[in-house]
Subunit: 146 residues, 2 copies
DNA sequence: TTATTATGCATAACATGTTAACTAAATTTA
DNA sequence: TAAATTTAGTTAACATGTTATGCATAATAA
């Protein structure tokens, strides 16, 4: 479906990246929506599962979320009992964000499905091409940021 | 800057695509912001410059904007006098969106700068790699949508 | 022709993206 | 030490993303 060659302005880098991202996200969305998680909320949980107790600034960098968005997202996750805030001794400005047992439980339910989807994509597309794509994307960012 | 190898979950397709897109967008943002245009508003204007008088559904597809977003965006552009709505004879549900002279004038101011930025990126990255990237992205979308 | 369904589009409601204040705590400077 | 500055984080305000709902007009079935 929708195989028509891209015309004019639609064949642009931002649009192509957007389309690719949306196509990929569609594969991951269902298992997240099942648990009422947005892609952004899921990013925060994964980041904390990888390294717990990060402060907001660290979390913001790792999840590629701006502070205002992250602030609201963490509030939401706190209300849902998936993470908690803890005081950082020695600096009253910071707060460490810690994943709860319930958060970990949720992670353990979703992560396998997510990995499965990822494997599916990698296989469909070809692992070699996938690696090549990563490298091109990294290099693009690198070259642009000069 | 920020050259640390991506760890863990940050090396994922959605994240890499997001980073690349943001890096690219940053190059185009300034000339748009100069005229108080968002990337989305600019997409609509470009689409209409390419083919005028599209209805909302067509515009939605070509700009990769969902109808609710597009609805608000067009309202904004109408207020600013950059486009107008015209009745479609034979179907009272549709409305044709038409770019105004002022809209065209704005396009003619921004488009050259935009093209310039694009050339810069293509040159920095390498035209061959850019073409390869396009092809990989297209193929990724194609393979995923099955 | 009337009832039903489909289409085109708008609005509602809420999460996120984005820029700009703003607060309080920590650090630096004078 | 007092004042200025920096840092970490929140809140405000508005545009957009996203799903659901509503509402006409059009097309179709009965």
């Amino acid at each position: 479906m929708n195989k028509a060659k891209l015309r004019g302005f639609n064949r642009s880098l931002p649009m192509s990246l957007l389309r690719a991202r949306e196509a990929v996200m569609k594969k991951f969305a269902p298992s997240l929506k099942e648990h009422n998680l947005s892609a952004q909320q899921w990013r925060v949980i994964r980041a904390l599962k990888e390294e717990d107790g990060l402060d907001m600034s660290e979390l913001s960098e790792r999840c590629y979320l701006l502070m205002p968005s992250l602030s609201r997202i963490v509030q939401n996750l706190v209300v849902r009992g998936l993470v908690v805030r803890k005081l950082v001794e020695g600096d009253q400005r910071r707060s460490a964000i810690v994943i709860t047992d319930e958060g970990i439980k949720l992670f353990n339910i979703i992560a396998p499905k997510s990995a499965e989807r990822y494997e599916y994509i990698a296989e469909k597309f070809g692992p070699g091409k996938l690696e090549l794509l990563y490298e091109l994307l990294d290099e693009l960012v690198e070259k642009i940021d000069e």
